[in-house]
């Protein structure tokens, strides 16, 4: 099938470029670095506070959440305070300490931060996979063949996604391997979350998988956006700069926006954090998982629609 061969081509080109190996190297370095830092700052069982101490600590924290709840001026702050109190009460009742020894799950939890890094790399690949062909002029030899422009662009988008999945899989699997060797499984606890004051207990591995996937949603959306920008402007720089900036400040900006208007729920970043629906409840009252998924799909379709529209229509004049 032609599309498969085109993807094979894109993959070959990607892995014959030095920059790809630089990215892989930096990611590996990141994984090793967090392991080293955590290794030298491990919480041993002797460091853990006594039952009396942490129960005391949670009671104090609940008082401050209570105050936040009463003074809260927006939906999310209020529901967050309610949920945290519920979790703390659950801990006290069921004797589940919030403190635990360093183990493979705490290490993997930390490495979710690396998904931001993966985001930057996938955005770079998504921005350059089209623009690079234009900059080097190779797009002409690529287009004057029987593959349609749709097929060529599709192969490039799919390759970018596959690259993202590869980086994610490397991070998840390698973190698990390194974590289980260095830190082991001892002292691991369950994961607690609460929505509308209802507490749910989940296994750590399941929740980590969920977190990794949920964190990848914003990477996927920004990659599609970077892909669109680079296809329209045929410039790697604009696409990378804009998308990376949004990757880092997008959710903060949306959080601030959400304080003032409910319309913020239609913005991209109010919906990328799907994890919220499993942990703390929606960002804005009335939002549901289905709503967010629908909004994300609309954005994704728009980004891809404009990418294909511009890629097909334009004359190649380089």
């Amino acid at each position: 099938m032609l599309l498969l061969k085109l993807i094979q081509n894109e993959w070959m080109k990607l892995f014959n470029r030095v920059s790809t190996y630089v990215m892989l190297g930096i990611l590996l370095l990141g994984i090793v670095l967090t392991a080293v830092v955590i290794f030298f700052n491990q919480t041993e069982s002797s460091d853990l506070p006594s039952e009396e101490d942490w129960k005391q600590e949670l009671t104090i924290s609940n008082e401050s959440y209570k105050q936040t709840e009463e003074e809260a001026f927006n939906y999310f702050t209020e529901s967050y305070a309610i949920n945290q109190q519920a979790i703390n009460n659950y801990r006290i009742e069921n004797n589940i300490s919030p403190h635990e020894e360093t183990n493979v799950w705490t290490y993997m939890d930390t490495n979710i931060l690396l998904i931001q890094l993966i985001g930057v790399f996938v955005i770079i690949v998504g921005s350059s996979i089209v623009a690079h062909e234009f900059n080097k002029g190779t797009i002409k030899l690529l287009l004057v063949r029987s593959a349609s422009r749709n097929q060529i662009l599709a192969s490039k988008f799919i390759t970018t996604l596959l690259f993202g999945i590869l980086l994610l899989a490397i991070t998840f699997v390698l973190s698990f391997i390194i974590g289980s060797i260095l830190f082991g499984f001892d002292g691991s606890s369950v994961h607690l979350s609460a929505i509308d004051g209802e507490v749910t207990e989940r296994s750590r591995i399941l929740f980590l998988g969920l977190s990794y996937l949920a964190s990848s949603v914003s990477v996927l959306m920004l990659t599609a956006m970077a892909f669109m920008i680079s296809t329209i402007f045929r410039s790697e720089t604009i696409a990378i700069a804009l998308s990376v900036m949004l990757l880092f400040i997008g959710s903060t900006a949306t959080g601030i926006l959400a304080l003032f208007t409910d319309w913020a729920k239609y913005s991209l970043f109010a919906n990328t954090n799907l994890e919220l629906y499993f942990t703390d409840g929606p960002l804005i009252e009335g939002m549901t998982l289905g709503f967010s998924v629908a909004v994300l799909i609309v954005y994704l379709i728009l980004f891809l629609f404009f990418s294909f529209l511009f890629f097909k229509k334009r004359d190649v004049s380089i």
Binding site: Q8, K13, K140, L141, D315
Partner: protein
Amino acid sequence: MSEPILSLRKVNKKIGKNHIIKDLSFDVYPGEVFGFLGPNGAGKTTTIRMIVGLTNITSGEIIVNGNSISKNYKKAIENIGAIVENPELYPYLTARKNLIHFGRMSNNVTKEDIQHRLELVNLDHVKDEKVARFSLGMKQRLGIAQAMLHNPKILILDEPTNGLDPAGIRQMRDYLRKVAKEEGIAILVSSHVLSEMELMCDRFAIIQKGELVQVEDVSSEEQADIANRHIFEVNDVEKAKDILLSEYPDIAIEIHDNLLQVDATKEQIGSFITYLTSKGIILYQVIREKQTLEERFLQATNGEVS
């Protein structure tokens, strides 16, 4: 001649108010090397872009092996192998990987085909080196190899001799002529360097400011009914001129550097020689002055070469 493999019919290209290509029509037939000549900026590359579908045609039609490039792109483009402007291959891939890349985009290109093409363009010894290290001539040859991977019926090359040294140009010329004759492929070559085209092409078209100026055979001057300039070296030019003018008063005749210049057809020249000899003039030699492609080009474009 047989059916044309490439046919341009009243092709126009407008970008905004600029009328870049005006009513351009010509045909290219299997087995011929067709020169597409014109000064820089005449619209050669724009025309090639339209033929390979990189830019839209404003009006008119381009037919490749019976398929319209705008209506049936896929079928039409299958017959074309092309290099547009520079042979821009992936610098970070090796020569072989570049060919594997383009080979995957067509059906039935085997490892053996790739090896065969590498050998034909004499790049077998460097096939595992990155293209970034190649000279322009090597890139041109690899460009031709990628254009011919899928056995196209017409090869379109935009300025293929650009940046080549004389040996490279000669090699390219021999290779293209061989391919055209042996494989029966039509080759469209654009260029503004005319001396090279003269030796490479069977026929040529000249365009200027987007308009076709003329299409003709490189060898057309040898046709008997066209008046060509001939130079006569004789023992007495003045006397020879008078003798000729008395018998043939209409002919164009001039004395230049103690030589006689006469514009006449092959047949006329024969009778001039007999007549002059019979009147006692001694003829040392008669040379037909060949008009080079360059001179014809200058004539056709009124000397406007960029």
